[in-house]
Subunit: 478 residues, 2 copies
């Protein structure tokens, strides 16, 4: 640390007494996210009120100290990691949740946990749809920074679709309000949506006004088996053509299912071992759900080989357990999982699955795939053993090929995780030089000293050259 940075840190301690930590445990905890690469900050600021952020940024901007905001650290891409040291800005303390049930608007601190908002909204008959799989841990600030998705996007959209207003601080410590808790707002340039998904590179959000919906009265869940991925994904396309409007539409390929069946020693659909699976949720009024269910079962009678319905919440939970088992059991194949979150047009999903099978043969590594087939958002995994340099090399080559295929199919390299560090190598596949230059010019305009989450999105980074740390994180299932 330079003398100037040390002075700035001393000044920070004076201004935010009891909120600045430099001990090893605090710095290690703030050094990682779910990508599990560790880069320790010089200090961790545990924010206790929004204005702390302004104080920290004012100093940081003056002394050109990197600042990396973080929530729960569940980012899959390294976006919450203080790559260039400096100060980690821990926003978990800003965890307030207030709900206006008339306006159907929640005002939340950046550190409020997604599942907490959901349960408080439900208690009032309301509904906050975005549901990233780590929702019991993730903060809403983190969800906003990454524009998080989840399973209900097919009907309800992503985090962005629920953000009305953001409050926070610009790089120089000036406070901002972009958008307000209103249903319509078109005054000036829309920096609100620019900040959403910007992974803490443009400003620091301290609170948000979020739109809530009336809670659906009823939900129904069904699970359908198909002979092949092709027939399952053909059914997905036909389903939309026929006007169905499911609230969840999840897909599991035969590799994922086979893996779970070997791992548990149980066949999911008796007599149909290693099927490809669709898991479907319908919601609405009881009458609507009844009508939708009938239409769906009639439709599926033409194409699925077996099905199972949940007639209670507990039975539905059992069906969702199948999805989770598939995800967990993959670690019986190898110790390391590359989890990509690519998106392709709906009718190109079958082609993408064919490509994952071709890739499997080519690189000799398993490529189990599941995900949000109603959005074209598939989690393609490549499983490999970290200690094997050959496997790591093959996995790396495989991912690059996969990403190029996705772009060639008219898709995008990330649908809900963001870029962070992990996806930097693929940015030039997705975006032209002019597009990247335009993005970077905006970054420089809002953060001229380059202090906000430096090293992310834009700068070259080879994720493969860094060794992940072995650490148990709260959301680890195994």
């Amino acid at each position: 640390m330079t003398k100037a940075h040390q002075n700035a840190l001393d000044s920070l301690r004076r201004k935010l007494p009891g909120r600045v930590f430099t001990d090893e445990a605090s710095c290690f905890a703030a050094s990682i996210d779910n990508l599990r690469l560790s880069f320790a900050p010089d200090a961790v600021i545990k924010v206790s009120k929004a204005s702390d952020v302004g104080v920290a940024l004012k100093l940081a901007n003056k002394f050109k100290i990197p600042v990396t905001p973080r929530g729960a650290g569940s980012s899959a891409t390294g976006s919450a990691v203080p790559l260039k040291r400096g100060w980690a800005l821990d926003l978990a303390g800003l965890d307030s949740i207030k709900i206006d049930a008339v306006a159907r608007i929640a005002t939340v601190g950046a550190g409020a946990v997604t599942a907490d908002l959901q349960s408080q909204a439900e208690a009032l008959g309301l509904f906050y749809p975005p549901d990233p799989s780590s929702k019991k841990y993730t903060t809403l600030g983190g969800n906003i920074a990454c524009n998080a998705g989840g399973m209900r996007c097919v009907k309800y959209g992503v985090t962005r679709d629920y953000v009305l207003g953001l409050e926070g601080f610009l790089a120089d410590g000036s406070p901002f309000k972009f958008g307000l808790p209103l249903k319509k707002y078109v005054s000036g340039l829309n920096l609100r949506d620019l900040l959403i998904g910007s992974e803490g590179t443009l400003g620091v959000v301290t609170s948000a006004a979020l739109k809530l919906l009336p809670k659906p009265e009823k939900r129904w869940t069904g699970m359908f088996a198909f002979k092949s991925e092709a027939s399952a994904l053909k059914a997905v396309v036909a389903l939309f053509k026929a006007g169905h409007n499911p609230s969840i539409l999840e897909f599991l390929d035969r590799q994922s299912v086979g893996c779970a069946e070997r791992y548990t020693g149980k066949v999911i659909f008796e007599g149909h071992s290693r099927s490809s699976i669709l898991l479907i949720e319908l919601d609405g009024t009881p009458g609507e759900v009844r009508k939708q269910r009938k239409a769906l079962l009639d439709f599926m009678a033409q194409c699925a080989v077996a099905h199972r319905e949940a007639r209670s919440e507990a039975a539905a939970e059992k069906l969702w357990q199948v999805r989770r088992t598939c995800s967990q059991s993959m670690f019986s194949l190898a110790d390391t999982k590359l989890n990509e979150d690519v998106v392709v047009p709906l009718e190109k999903q079958a082609e993408l699955i064919r490509y994952t099978l071709k890739l499997k043969k080519e690189i000799g590594l398993a490529t189990p795939t599941f995900g949000h087939a109603g959005d074209g958002n598939l989690h393609v995994h490549i499983m490999y053993n970290r200690r094997s340099k050959t496997d790591a090399r093959k996995a790396k080559a495989g991912i690059k090929k996969l990403m190029q295929k996705v772009v060639d199919l008219g898709g995008v390299i990330t649908g809900e995780h963001g870029i962070g560090l992990a996806k930097i190598p693929f940015m030039s596949m997705q975006h032209s030089k002019a597009e990247l230059a335009a993005m970077y010019s905006v970054k420089s305009a809002l953060d001229p000293e380059g202090i906000l989450n430096p090293g992310k999105i834009f700068e070259p980074f080879e994720v493969w050259e860094h060794e992940p740390v072995d650490v148990q994180l709260p959301w680890d299932h195994r």
Copy 2:
């Protein structure tokens, strides 16, 4: 025109033969929008294919020539007017519409007309909800530039909520794709949403991928009379509290209704002359609509003094005619209508109406108000005679006071029209200096030569010092 600009124009003519016009009629047509201030361009470029835009911008950027994109010119704020001369870029020729009924995505040219997309979507059982009142004329590019709203926002949101991907050209003529026709996309900074609502100041959109919804099977319309604005707006708040989810919820104050009743010589609700009115649409499956209708009528029995239902499309059209008559009849009060599109929190609407009545007394000018009460988005009008300098001065003072009141109530100065020229004087009421500087830094980053729609949003402009032209525009009803 300078010699350099003349050379650039000659070069443009060679590169875009038959698409560059400098005759008086073309320049006049491109000199105005619905604000009716006229600023003639040096030339009009009638774009026939997207790449024309790149050609024009490359030249314009090199020679620092102002470029003002326009669609139908129905903007209410002057955002489509070439204030600083230069080239008007007429995008109406890019009017293609393609619909993928499976993915529920429309790909449209910037010049495609909103109502055309709606009718083509409906023919396929689909639905494009944004419905600005000028939808028979407005282009989708213009809707995107202004993030247009309309009546169905209360349930279905605004234009932004339907934009998946944008294609177009940056200020220097480089092509861009921001977003793709996919349901999820989080790669890089979100310049797509930054462009939406930026009124042509950051880049020129040539085509867009728009999300479509399944078309609601059934609609129902009802009209309710209230003793006062306060009781009507109290009902609006209570309605949401009770969990109703109307697809339209329009409000008319007693000034608007009284004006229509005097103008037509007919009372809208027999025995309840000069009522305040709510116009409500419900939509969904027939079963849902039936259930909603019953709940709504039960609810309204407690607070409305009279009601009327539409049992057919034609009957519904008759109810909507009431809304249109109110709007048109205002011109019987005075020749000039200031139409503001402010938004306040739902529970503050009654207070805003009280303020419009206070203002009416204070300035001695009528302040009839109607609008989208489900969004808190009210069109407050001040009616005055243009030839009277006293009235104009009073109207100007009144609007400034109104805007300050709106901001004080936690609202926004514009909910669906945008800033353009007309709202520039109120920008500093809404946004802090730091927020405005952040917006302007983004503008400068993406348009360093300042050629795109110069003079709008950021530069001082006193709309009152300019005389509107008397011209008949396609959407004029009187």
